[in-house]
Subunit: 205 residues, 2 copies
C-alpha cells in the first residue's frame, strides 16, 4: 500500500455508477469523435472543422459531442494533449536517436526535427494555447525545457544552461515557426538545419 | 490620371491653418504631456498612471491630452516609440562599445546589456505591443534583427545566421524577460550573463 492508499475511507464525490455498457458506449463515442476530428483536421486544417462536421463524420449526436468535450476548444485541447503525450513518451522512453541510448547531441538534433514537424502540424492549436500568458511559459513547455536542458547538460555544455535552453526552444515556438514558413518562405528543412547549427554551437561542436 | 496622382485637385481634408503661436502652444503642450507621463510612469509604473493623472501633472486640460494622443494607448505608443528611436540611434550611431568602433562581440554584449534594461523598463508597453500577432515579428523588431545579424556576421559567425539571431533575440522578449524576473527570480544581471554565454558560443569564442 502506497501514498495513494484510500484506506482512509475517502471514496471521492458521490457518482452514479454507470453500467458497464454505458461506460463502453461513452468510451466508444469518445474514440469515434476524436478519430473523426483528427481525420477532418488532417484533410481540411484545424480552422475549417466545425462541431457539426465532427459529429456527422463520427456518426454521433452533436449533443453527445458537446457533453463529452464542453466546447470546440475543449475538443481541440484534448486532441493536442493526446498528441503531446505521445510525443513526450517518444522522446523520453522511445527508441533512439529521439529516445535514450543515442549521444545527447544526436538526441537534441532528433528532438528538434520531430518537434518542428509536430509544431507545424499543430500550429493552430499551439498558437491558441501560447497566446494565453498564463500557459505560455508553463506545462507542457516545462517538460520540453527540462528535456532540452538535460540533453545540453549531458553533452557537457558550459555556461548558463537556462539561457541556452530558452534560446534554443524559441526556434520551436508555434507562432515563430509559422511566421518563418508562411511569411518568410523558410521551409521546415531550413529550420531544422538552423536548429542543428545552434545545437552544435551551444554544445561546442 | 492614376489613383495616387494629386493633380486632380485633391487637397486633403479642409483644415484651419494654425497660427504660429497656436503651433507653438501645441508643441509645448505635447512636450509637457510627454514629460509628465514619463515622470509618473517612472514613479508609479505604467499600469497605475491614468489620463487624468497625466493631464493634472502637466497642467494641461484633459481634452487637449485626448485630442493630442487619441487614447491612453496612443500616448503609450508615442512614449515607447520615442524611447525606441533613442535606443536605436545609440546602437547604430552612438559611442562604442554599443555603437560602431568596438569589436562586434563587444557590441553584441553591450547591446544585450542595454536592451535587457530597456525591455525591463518598458515591459508593460512592449508586452502589449508583442501580444498583437501583427506586430510581434515586425518593426521595430526588424531593426533589432538586422543589427544583431549584422554583428554576428561581422564576428565571423558560421552557419545559419537567421536561426542564431532569432535564438539570441528570444532572450530579450519582453514577456520572457518579465517572466524570468517575476516568476523565476532570475535577475537582469543573471540574464545579462546568460546573453553573454550564448553570444560567445555562437561567435565561437
Amino acid at each position: 500500500m502506497t501514498g495513494i492508499d484510500r484506506s482512509d475511507g475517502f471514496v471521492g464525490l458521490p457518482v452514479t455508477d454507470p453500467s458497464p455498457s454505458e461506460r463502453g458506449d461513452a468510451a466508444r463515442n469518445r474514440a469515434l469523435l476524436l478519430d473523426a476530428a483528427r481525420r477532418l483536421i488532417t484533410e481540411r486544417g484545424t480552422t475549417s472543422v466545425t462541431m457539426d462536421d465532427v459529429a456527422t463524420a463520427a456518426g454521433v449526436g452533436k449533443g453527445t459531442l458537446f457533453r463529452r468535450f464542453g466546447s470546440r476548444s475543449g475538443l481541440m485541447i484534448v486532441l493536442l494533449d493526446e498528441d503531446e503525450k505521445e510525443q513526450q513518451h517518444a522522446f523520453m522512453f522511445g527508441p533512439p536517436p529521439l529516445g535514450p541510448g543515442a549521444p545527447p547531441i544526436d538526441r537534441l538534433i532528433a528532438y528538434g526535427h520531430e518537434r518542428l514537424s509536430f509544431v507545424w502540424d499543430h500550429r493552430a492549436l499551439l498558437s491558441d494555447a501560447g497566446r494565453d500568458p498564463q500557459t505560455r511559459f508553463n506545462a507542457p513547455s516545462t517538460l520540453h525545457r527540462i528535456h532540452v536542458r538535460m540533453l545540453l547538460a549531458s553533452a557537457g555544455t558550459t555556461g548558463d544552461l537556462d539561457a541556452q535552453t530558452d534560446a534554443l526552444l524559441a526556434l520551436l515556438d508555434a507562432e515563430y515557426v509559422t511566421h518563418q514558413v508562411t511569411d518568410l518562405d523558410r521551409s521546415l528543412e531550413q529550420q531544422v538545419r538552423g536548429w542543428e547549427d545552434v545545437v552544435h554551437k551551444l554544445c561546442g561542436v
